[in-house]
């Protein structure tokens, strides 16, 4: 679905991919020092217990799921299964499992898959990964307490498992999730958080909570010849300025960059050749709560979109580490309409619209925002003077990130600025604006438009992907016209890496999630990496 990774993105990758291609034969051995940049700790080594990307960065090294995301092809592909057969009705899949070994020496079998999925869906455990199970037949009954196991999971033999789904959608999208890994059914559950036992390429050597996770190569990893690295260290470093110094000092091998560093690294001859960037599937936006009288008027919402010079903000504040948004779906989405034009910066038009709507003066609202530099208070700071010029007074309502979602889900806001997933599956993420999607799910602005609803329903019933995409494009454009939100930008994720690092992939889902088994370091690495 993600075949067109986005032309721009692909072009920008040119430099990075060229470097990657140069040394085609990976060298084995060495130590790679990676960073997990989204905080100073991880929640748990048991990824099923947490929903955080920060934890996923570590889990990706330790665990494997039935499918995996291929960042290069932009599709889910089989990971723990050698082959799969789809039934005639397209709802039942029979997986032939690989010969794979858990870190404790257990062999993967069909019971492990069934046990893992039952555990994930178990309502008593309230695991975040339960979301990924909803497509499996029988989960609803299991969760409602009407069944003691998921009926859609069937063991054929030790190495064969059959899964029945409730719809025709490609199951890989859900089952590739790193939050839905396969665990060993014989391994004690209470050990998962401290001594994880996965099928991944690296096993845990040393975990210093709040500091780092050190892993070593797992010799019995199922992919032949992988991983290349002997050791993998993941440093938990939330503070960007400290990360910058550590990277420049050669203490860490990669750095996930914010706008300021993106610009600085791009101008630094020593660093600019080793930067990997990708258009991620996050859309940054300001959502308008129709609770506010003015926001019920489409013209007001449009006026705000006209009045903000988002190109300038993207250029100056985000240092071009973002793509100005056109509508909801990101550039890398298959339903992205390349011919669509974003709202131009046109304060006069904005004033006109506001006048028509009767809000020439006196419109005031506050934006609930976290302190995030790319989708938080700093952005609101930049739009305050811009909107002031068309007579709108904006204030900030600063909150901590844990309070933001609370306020939004409890409808306790006038406007918010957030960064939301908008891909890769376009239908799923456009459905967020379907009128029947509750605010607590993801229709945060309580958008309700009959035409839009019709398009979504139509797309849901369409089996031909090409036709489906056309319908979704239309819906996406309608959304832009209705402007329930201010479309700000799609994130450009950027990672700088040391020259001796190879095998990093432009993962549009989340750049910080890397296939560690493919990473290797060359002979130019310093002694501390050997």
């Amino acid at each position: 679905m993600l075949t067109r990774l986005g032309l721009t993105a692909a072009l920008m990758l040119g430099m990075a991919t060229a470097t990657l291609a140069q040394d085609a034969t990976p060298k084995d051995g060495g130590r790679f020092v990676y960073v997990a940049p989204y905080g100073s700790s991880i929640t748990s080594l048991d990824i099923t217990a947490t929903p955080h990307t920060q934890d996923e960065i570590v889990a990706k090294a330790i665990n494997r799921s039935l499918y995996k995301w291929n960042p290069e092809s932009g599709k889910p592909e089989l990971a723990l299964a050698e082959s799969v057969e789809k039934s005639a009705d397209g709802k039942t899949y029979t997986y032939k499992l690989r010969d794979a070994t858990f870190h404790n020496g257990d062999k993967l079998d069909a019971d492990d898959v069934i046990w893992s999925y039952n555990r994930l869906a178990d309502p008593k455990k309230a695991l975040p990964g339960a979301e990924q199970m909803l497509q499996i037949a029988g989960v609803a009954e299991f969760q409602a307490g009407k069944a003691d196991h998921i009926s859609g999971l069937k063991k054929i033999d030790d190495k064969t498992v059959q899964i029945t789904f409730i719809n025709l959608a490609e199951p890989g999208w859900n089952l590739m999730s790193n939050f839905a890994p396969i665990y060993s059914k014989d391994y004690p559950e209470d050990q998962l958080a401290s001594k994880p036992n996965g099928l991944g390429p690296f096993k845990l050597a040393n975990y210093v909570p709040g500091s780092k996770v050190e892993l070593v190569k797992f010799d019995d990893y199922y992919e032949e010849g992988k991983p290349h690295l002997d050791k993998l260290a993941i440093m938990l470093m939330g503070e960007a300025s400290a990360r910058d110094i550590a990277f420049r000092n050669g203490e860490i091998d990669v750095n996930v960059l914010g706008p300021v560093q993106y610009e600085a690294y791009g101008q630094d001859p020593a660093l600019k050749d080793h930067i990997l960037e990708v258009a991620e599937v996050y859309t940054r936006n300001i959502g308008f709560n129709p609770k506010v009288e003015a926001f019920k008027d489409k013209r007001v919402r449009q006026a705000i979109n006209y009045a903000i010079n988002k190109d300038l903000i993207v250029e100056k504040l985000l240092k071009n580490k973002a793509y100005p948004a056109v509508s909801w779906l990101p550039i890398s989405s298959p339903a992205f309409d390349k011919s669509a034009k974003p709202y131009p910066y046109d304060p006069e038009k904005a004033k006109e619209l506001l006048k028509e709507a009767g809000f020439e003066t006196g419109l005031k609202f506050s934006v609930t925002a976290t302190s995030n530099e790319s989708w938080g208070v700093p952005i609101v700071e930049a739009i305050i003077p811009m909107l002031a010029k068309v007579g709108i007074k904006v204030t900030t309502d600063p909150v901590e990130s844990s309070v933001l979602s609370d306020k939004i889900l409890s409808d306790n806001f006038e406007a918010f600025i957030w960064s939301n997933s908008s891909g890769p599956d376009p239908l799923k993420y456009l459905t967020c604006f379907y009128s029947k999607t509750p605010q607590t799910a993801c229709n945060y602005v309580k958008f309700s438009n009959a035409d839009f609803d019709k398009l979504i329903e139509q797309a849901g019933n369409e089996t031909d992907p090409a036709k489906q995409n056309e319908i979704l494009k239309e819906a996406n454009n309608l959304l832009q016209e209705e402007a329930p939100i201010w479309f700000f930008n799609y994130n450009k994720a950027v990672m700088a890496y040391q020259p001796w690092v190879h095998g990093l992939k432009p993962n549009a889902m989340e750049l910080a999630i890397q296939d560690y088994e493919d990473i290797w370091i060359d002979a130019s690495a310093p002694a501390s990496r050997k």
């Binding site: 210093v208 503070e239 300025s241 420049r248 990130s401 844990s402």
Partner: protein, 311 residues
């Protein structure tokens, strides 16, 4: 002495109880919840069933007073509860952070004492001299810098420009890694100690018994070591205890900056993810640290100063 320690330990209990109560009340009215923090990344909304399950798992559906009662009951059995975030016993979450925190506090305090006390001493021996004025201006300056700013500056100079030291991280056996955070954390107590020591030495040097010692014809070093040092120590000990005691709590900024896996960064993490049992646990640990250190200071007092009676 043992009875003294025992009595002081008993005296800690009401203080600790009051702390628990205050923290419990504060965090029962805090906006946001552990569950909302799970959704902070804006990716997956949780369905209502899951939320309800989590609420009942953590006992959040019970009334406040019942929760407080449960908590105190647990505390009486040395049970700090279960972390919302990791679903492990809180103690298991805190325990690995304890030693790094203590190590950082010890090193920072060591630095503060080793540098601050002699500086204050030397400054006081020649009051009004250039050295004195210079040292004291530096001490006041040390107290006037935002910690994270100082930390960044140290990182920038000693790690990046000079390449002498690593800029971040925790390695159990490594001395190099602790230097920068310890200095960044130690500068402010160092400055305070230098000032207190200076004032103390000036006080003591002007004391009548020092004049007596001079009249006895003692050499200056002998006078300083035999008669001034211990008396100054008595004066400095209070500052030392208070600084050392609050260091674990004051370290939160430095720990966050240097990716130091201590109690402070755990506290910040837990507050921002609303992992209330861990917040309570860490605050209890931080307060206990303060109380124990200050008890030790009192014990040290009793050992140094015969005027203080123990029993």
């Amino acid at each position: 002495m043992l009875r003294f320690i025992f009595r002081r330990t008993l005296q800690m209990i009401p203080t600790l109880l009051a702390v628990v109560l205050i923290i419990f009340v504060i965090f029962s009215v805090i906006p946001g919840s552990f569950i909302s923090s799970l959704m902070a990344e804006g990716r997956n909304a949780m369905n209502a069933d899951v939320v309800a399950h989590l609420n009942s798992e953590f006992g959040l559906d019970k009334p406040l007073l019942v929760r407080l009662g449960d908590y105190l009951w647990g505390l009486a059995h040395f049970d700090l509860g279960i972390s919302y975030r990791t679903r492990e016993p809180v103690w298991n979450v805190i325990e690995p952070r304890l030693w790094p925190s203590i190590k950082l506090a010890l090193t920072a305090m060591g630095f503060a004492v080793v540098v601050g006390v002699p500086l204050g001493f030397l400054a006081a021996l020649k009051p009004g001299s250039l050295f004195d004025t210079g040292t004291m201006m530096m001490a006041v300056s040390g107290l006037s810098l935002p910690e994270f700013w100082l930390g960044l500056l140290l990182m920038y100079v000693f790690a990046l420009q000079l390449g002498w030291l690593p800029s971040f991280g925790y390695h159990p056996g490594s001395i190099k890694h602790i230097v920068l955070p310890a200095i960044a954390l130690g500068v402010s107590p160092m400055a305070l100690l230098a000032r207190t020591t200076r004032a103390g030495v000036l006080d003591v040097m002007n004391a009548d018994f020092v004049r007596t010692a001079r009249a006895k014809g003692l050499t200056e070093p002998r006078l300083v070591f035999a008669h001034v040092t211990r008396n100054v120590l008595v004066l400095v000990l209070t500052t030392l205890g208070l600084q050392f005691g609050s260091l674990m709590g004051q370290a939160i900024v430095i720990e966050a900056l240097f990716s130091w896996p201590g109690i402070g960064s755990l506290l910040v993490d837990s507050v921002s993810t609303r992992d209330i049992p861990v917040v309570q646990g860490t605050v209890i640990v931080i307060v206990l640290w303060f109380l124990v250190i200050n008890m030790l200071v009192d014990v040290a007092y009793a050992a140094i100063d015969p005027r203080i009676k123990v029993a």
